[in-house]
Amino acid sequence: MKSFERYLLERTKLANSHTLAVYRANGGYKALEKVLKKPLTPAEIIAEMKASNLRGRGGAGFPCGMKWSFMPDPAKDPRPRYLAVNADESEPGTCKDRVLMEKDPHGLIEGCLIAAYAMRLQAVYIYVRGEYRKSYDTLLAAIAEARKAGLVGKNVMGTEFSCDVWMHKGAGAYICGEETGLMESLEGKRGHPRPKPPFPAGFGLWGKPTTVNNVETIFNVPFIVERGGAWFSSIGTQNSKGNFLCGISGHVEKPGVYELPFGVTAREIVDEVAGGIWKGRKCKAWFPGGSSCALLRGEDLDVVLDHDSLKAKGSSLGTAAMIVMDDTTSMARVMEIIARFYDHESCGQCSQCREGTQWLAQIFHRIATGHGKPDDVATLESLAKGMAPGKTICALADAAAIPTLSAVRIFKTELEECIRQAKDPLAPPRVEYAGAH
């Protein structure tokens, strides 16, 4: 792997990296100062964001600058407007935003303030999944520190710019990581995604213009403002720019959250960064970016981990959370767990998803426990095709259907063998218990 410059995780390695003093001593709040004192215009910041080609790091990869530009002009639409930071990190395998929030909270706060200035927002809400108590507490303390230092609240850095940043706690529902589910939840309701259109930029929180951005996306903003969109855009591959956080978990020697530039291959990440497949084994399968991406085979590891390359392989970058499985892994068991997860997390609004995720979970369960029926693999495929794409209000049904279709395609023989033998030859130990919904 070629050497590269790190910027995302550099501060997290310092002692007391969560404090304002350490943040400031390492260049913190310089980008905000540049914005407010120069001053830059909101249009200039959005132009810089567009030039950077930063794509959202929450899974969908939508261009951030373009998303910001969808917010209406306040001269024509004077309604209050908001940013909701999506810190509901819940996609299985994904554990990257947590590192930023626990170790470098001011980086996120500074990004929020610049976003607020650029989109002329009244307030920012950071929606953190309820289980991330440490992230919540660290950010809450950092916001208090920033407020005391005149960086959050009225007249930031003594200028006309005012913005509040509030912490908000979710309560364990994966669906609230979907942007409209998040907004419903933030309003104090069940996290039921809303049909789109209307889109959040026109009708978001409390019916007002709203942008929803992932933590890592916002975290990149101060770097782009300080060093320029051209600098950011010089890193990476054609349509995937900058460094990104890759969380790698499962059967590797050194699981972890690593900063990498786009352009490295999955094999480089597994072998050179994560210490190789554990126990000297071989890679059987892997998810490139969380469990809702299509599975890839071990021999696909030479693919570059970026948006276009993974799409060409029939998968996607998702949250860049690689989940690696060695050659002893039971794919029936893997898919049983993944299908159970989406069944558990379906909000129940759309019948394709509510019923479909349940059926997928039941079928994978019976295959994994030696009770599969002869036509189960065909049923899985036809069910998954009935659930997606684009048949439901949000993409949770797709998130269950995509890995299912990939498993049926790549590991058909293995699943059929479990059915034929009335047992899973690779079955790991298991504890039987019924799920609680």
């Binding site: 994904t94 969380g247 059967h251 997860f341 218990y433 609680a436």
Partner: protein, 156 residues
């Protein structure tokens, strides 16, 4: 049941963060669960409904949607064991078995002495440090059965 004055005071400040009062409901449910016995009782839901100007069934509808809110009283210590994919690949099943054996309980159950509740949970975002448990709201990662014994042994 009336909400404790301390919570009312907190909620009065909390709701100023939002243009609409109801947005404080989920944070308020968390605080009630933390302060009022580790669960959200029907009485708590009624009191919150009154505070937020909602029907009790609306509060129930919200509380019952979110896995973190307990609608039945848990044991003194709550052990959430992640059973999602990254943890499973690194021994979550053995961990679950061990935790249940050590505490004399079953998944989704409470021990006879009321000391432990063991709850299987979906991905907690500790994937790179799997397997993990959340013990009374604190993450413990990179676990082995020995580490679990030490953790549980230290509990009153």
């Amino acid at each position: 049941m009336a909400l404790p004055a301390k919570l009312i005071q907190e909620f009065d400040e909390l709701v100023t963060h939002y243009p609409e009062k109801r947005a404080g409901l989920i944070p308020a449910l968390h605080r009630c669960q933390e302060e009022l016995g580790g669960w959200v009782s029907p009485d708590t839901m009624e009191a919150l409904a009154e505070y937020f100007g909602l029907e009790p069934v609306e509060v129930y509808g919200v509380a019952s949607f979110y896995p973190m809110f307990r609608l039945t009283p848990p044991g003194k210590h709550v052990i959430s064991v992640c059973h999602n994919i990254s943890c499973e690949l690194r021994g979550a099943t053995e961990l679950m078995e061990h935790v249940c054996k050590k505490t004399g309980t079953k998944p989704y159950g409470t021990s006879a002495d009321g000391k432990f509740t063991v709850w299987p949970v979906e991905c907690q975002g500790a994937c790179a440090n799997a397997p993990m448990i959340d013990l009374d709201g604190v993450y413990h990662e990179d676990l082995t059965t020995e580490k679990v014994d030490k953790l549980l042994g230290g509990l009153a």
